[in-house]
Symmetry: C2
Amino acid sequence: MVESLQDYLTSEQQRVNSYVLELLEKDAMLPPSLSESVLYSMRAGGKRLRPILMQAAYESFGGQGEKALPVAAALEMVHTYSLIHDDLPAMDNDDYRRGQPTNHKKFGEATAILAGDALLTRSFSVIGQAKELQPEEKVYLMTYLSEAAGSAGMIAGQSLDMEAEDKESTLQELEQIHNLKTGKLLTYAIVAGAYCAGAGDETLELMKKFGKYIGLIFQVQDDILDVTGDAAVIGKPVGSDEGNNKSTYPKLLGLDGAKTQMNKYVELAHQCLLEANIEASRLQELTVYLSKRTS
Amino acid sequence: MVESLQDYLTSEQQRVNSYVLELLEKDAMLPPSLSESVLYSMRAGGKRLRPILMQAAYESFGGQGEKALPVAAALEMVHTYSLIHDDLPAMDNDDYRRGQPTNHKKFGEATAILAGDALLTRSFSVIGQAKELQPEEKVYLMTYLSEAAGSAGMIAGQSLDMEAEDKESTLQELEQIHNLKTGKLLTYAIVAGAYCAGAGDETLELMKKFGKYIGLIFQVQDDILDVTGDAAVIGKPVGSDEGNNKSTYPKLLGLDGAKTQMNKYVELAHQCLLEANIEASRLQELTVYLSKRTS
């Protein structure tokens, strides 16, 4: 019997959580405060969207077992480091994340910077030490992770995003920021999953395109939820994006325009899956899920 | 004719500088301010001690050509990232480094944090993309870099060092901090160089021991120079270590005791080279050089 999507999400979350926490709890980190700080942010939860997408891509191309799991764990560690650093006073200056004090509010700025550095650094050896991967696979996955997370990827996105504050961005500029800041790691999830299952170059290219659309779907829905989410009053801005001068899809296109734009991305994403012959896969289910999520 | 040590230091500095700057200048970093910030710190100079030690170890075990150069560049990028983050207000709060404003004084804290993150992230793909290394070699060198730089290595050292501020440390605690904070990356330089030249496991273990002594020699001489350096008045503290409550070798052992301790390390380092049959190598010359350096 095929697991329901909700059960799948829950079981994949649990699987990656167990793996990554067990791994980090075993690490001989010094001093104890650094270890506590790293574990605090890893334990804080979150959707584990990137590991779930990676496993779904892995399975969609016939992968079985836990080969992709260390790579998924490494990716979630990179994502977590980026949240710790983005929350810092010099960056977004956030006091809370997921209802808990941010890492630097709890452990101080110095430890938060080092905890982020530690997670980023550790992510590479998690892949390097993976038992089921061949050396060439490890090199591909580590090198690509460095590129996706680096100064032409996620770091560029965060840097551009900060420069864009209090400025009106065009739709093109907005998409560039999202493609870099969230799209590159989401794409990594999809491509790495397909790669671990043995997908060829042509398929990986299709998955790069698919990952980009997934990133955009994720972001447009984020912006839409900021307007319609909690109060559920369509067309009446209630969210935090309005207050600051951040460009969003609803601001640039109107709420209906944003929804139309998202449907276009959903269609384009589906097209990629069709071309890759996996149109009825878990990835298609996740595409629809992401476009309709309410939190 | 064998190059003099001074010529060797200069030519190796130039070689790694050209390589790393050309590589980073070609990178498509966004936005320009991030690129400028990364290049600013990489161009700020420094002794390039780690790349020099790596190349010397490589040559001492018969290595020829540029096989180790990308690894040396990656290591120097990791070292540079650590300086940028260590200088931050939340950490050591330094305004100047090598006579220039620190990265965050010049570009702001947010960009400095991201520039450090970018250098750390990029270092792994520099090794991953190296032309002369085999996949298994890349995996070894990337995984080991992650371990040496991570939360059981350099990051642990920086974290312990901050916790030790304004506290009296024992000699044992002091050595632990130095072994982690500077020793791990210096050891990486030696071991990675030997590894690139094809050294076997037993030799690599000897080089790990040698690297540890090199790290300690470096640090004791640092502490001694802080006392005797500029004013050249032996036994009369003139340096910055006295002002803050940092533990140093001269404080714990007296100046003569610190010198005796260093000579012991020099002897132990030499013993490792003897056992590895490279007692007359560039590494021996560098050991003596580091124990007698005046800057």
